[in-house]
């Protein structure tokens, strides 16, 4: 139970201190530490990352959602293809999905050229891949559950009964 609670809080804000998590959950701080260590040791928690609004930065960041279709044979499974693709650092997310195509791949790079080259030189030539459709991200409104708009602000009165 405490594991679930701690996980929920880390998902809300991975930078909460263990002391604050302990205060919010009524656990001892060392229990929180042990729970987090356990979550990490068992690979439940795979990492912690910042949610970035790239539009707020000067440097361009190019992201693309790529649809991939593949053909399988007796020696090659979805997992085999996925493992191969996932090793590329340009690939930020890779999921097998239901529907019109097989894999949904998120790719990130410094320029359209870089991303395009990656798709055409590294991904498309993979023998099992029969088709790629690349969609460049034009704007992002919400990432990891966080809205990227200007927010609704707090316009409440400082005192109310």
């Amino acid at each position: 139970m405490s594991e679930r609670e701690v996980l929920e809080l880390l998902r809300e804000n991975a930078r909460y201190s263990t002391a604050d998590i302990a205060r919010m959950t009524d656990l001892e701080e060392r229990e929180v530490e042990a729970t987090i260590e356990e979550l990490e040791a068992t690979d439940v928690v795979r990492g912690y990352q910042a949610v970035v609004d790239w539009d707020k930065l000067e440097d361009e960041r190019v992201r693309a959602e790529v649809e991939l279709n593949v053909t399988l044979d007796r020696e090659t499974s979805y997992d085999d293809i996925a493992e191969r693709l996932a090793r590329f650092p340009e690939v930020k997310a890779l999921r097998l999905i239901s529907g019109d195509y097989d894999f949904d791949m998120e790719v990130e790079g410094d320029s359209i050229r870089e991303v395009s080259q990656f798709i055409s030189e590294k991904v498309a030539p993979v023998p099992e891949i029969t088709q790629t459709v690349t969609h460049y991200v034009m704007a992002s409104y919400k990432e990891n559950g966080i809205e990227l708009g200007d927010g609704e602000g707090d316009d409440r009165l400082s005192f109310s009964p």
Partner: protein, 385 residues
Amino acid sequence: MTFELSDRVETVPPSGIRRFFEIAEERDDVISLGVGEPDFATPWAARDAAITSLEQGKTSYTANRGKRELREAIADYVADRFDLGYGADEEIIVTAGASEAVDLAFRAFVDPGDTVAIAQPAYISYEPGVIFAGGDVLPVPTKEEDDFRLTAEALEAAGAADADVLVLCYPNNPTGAIMPAADLEPVAAFAREHDLTVFSDEIYAELTYDGEHTSIATLPGMRERTIVFNGFSKAHAMTGLRLGYALGPADAIGAMNKIHQYTMLSAPTTAQYAALEALESCDDDVREMVAQYDRRRQFVLTRFREIGMDVFEAKGAFYCFPEVPEGFTAEEFAEEVLREQGVAVVPGDVFGEGGAGHLRISYATGLEDLRRALNRIEAFVEEHA
């Protein structure tokens, strides 16, 4: 010319928190723990339903008692959540906030000379409401050693046996106290024995963090003498939409509707569409907000104990009620911590008897602000201890 004010208006003193507004205005870095409303926006599905209703031109009056569909949804909701059985036709009235419902009840059931006992500390509007209706207020103080729960002894001691109406608000604003069934029983017995009408303001019912909320109206012999108030402001974060309701026996709700139809006509139509959607599809949003409040509650209680301020285990609403350290009145502490540290809190005296020496701390504020505010209070206490 000068207006000659009615005695009723003159009798009511000005609001005790007014001057704190002015002090708060002087600083631009104030973190407020003085807010009695959620920091969340209304769940999007409810806002979306309100927008759609506007787009469709649903902007006329509704039935006096509120849209039938909404009353049916309220009947299902209170039956499901609180075991309260009320018919949509005659036993429910939808109002402009629970505040209107409370006012209607005072006006419908209090005659000049009638005595209204109010369990205090309590939400600040009951007392003026009684006075505007021409009644007399009888404060019934609750005590910290009872976890600010109302007891039959306190009622007896205050002389509530001779009162006509008893007003309860649990989960309580400002203390965060709750009244579990076992504590309500003797209060209900007192009300039956002395033939008191009970007004039970249960606006914070969903925000109960220990067990389930029990309504006094579900106890034996209480339904026929109780009016229950609830609404969408707190649990559904809809304060500005102004939507509440009252539940009671048909003749009582009929009497309240008589006033409502001439003074309000009907509760805001747009808000009724939002409320209907809130009941139909926003349970998860409510659960998530309640989970957030509960974490903040534990955070704040723990921090006050770390700071060395006594605080009882508040288990409801979004308030806790710590004691001010020795050497301060609540008023002094609230004023100085606002001036020196820019933290806004409300002195407990504002909420009537039993509130002296305490502060109302609202944790309807994001964790980051709570953390900073509590650090500032800690610095203040260290400096002045």
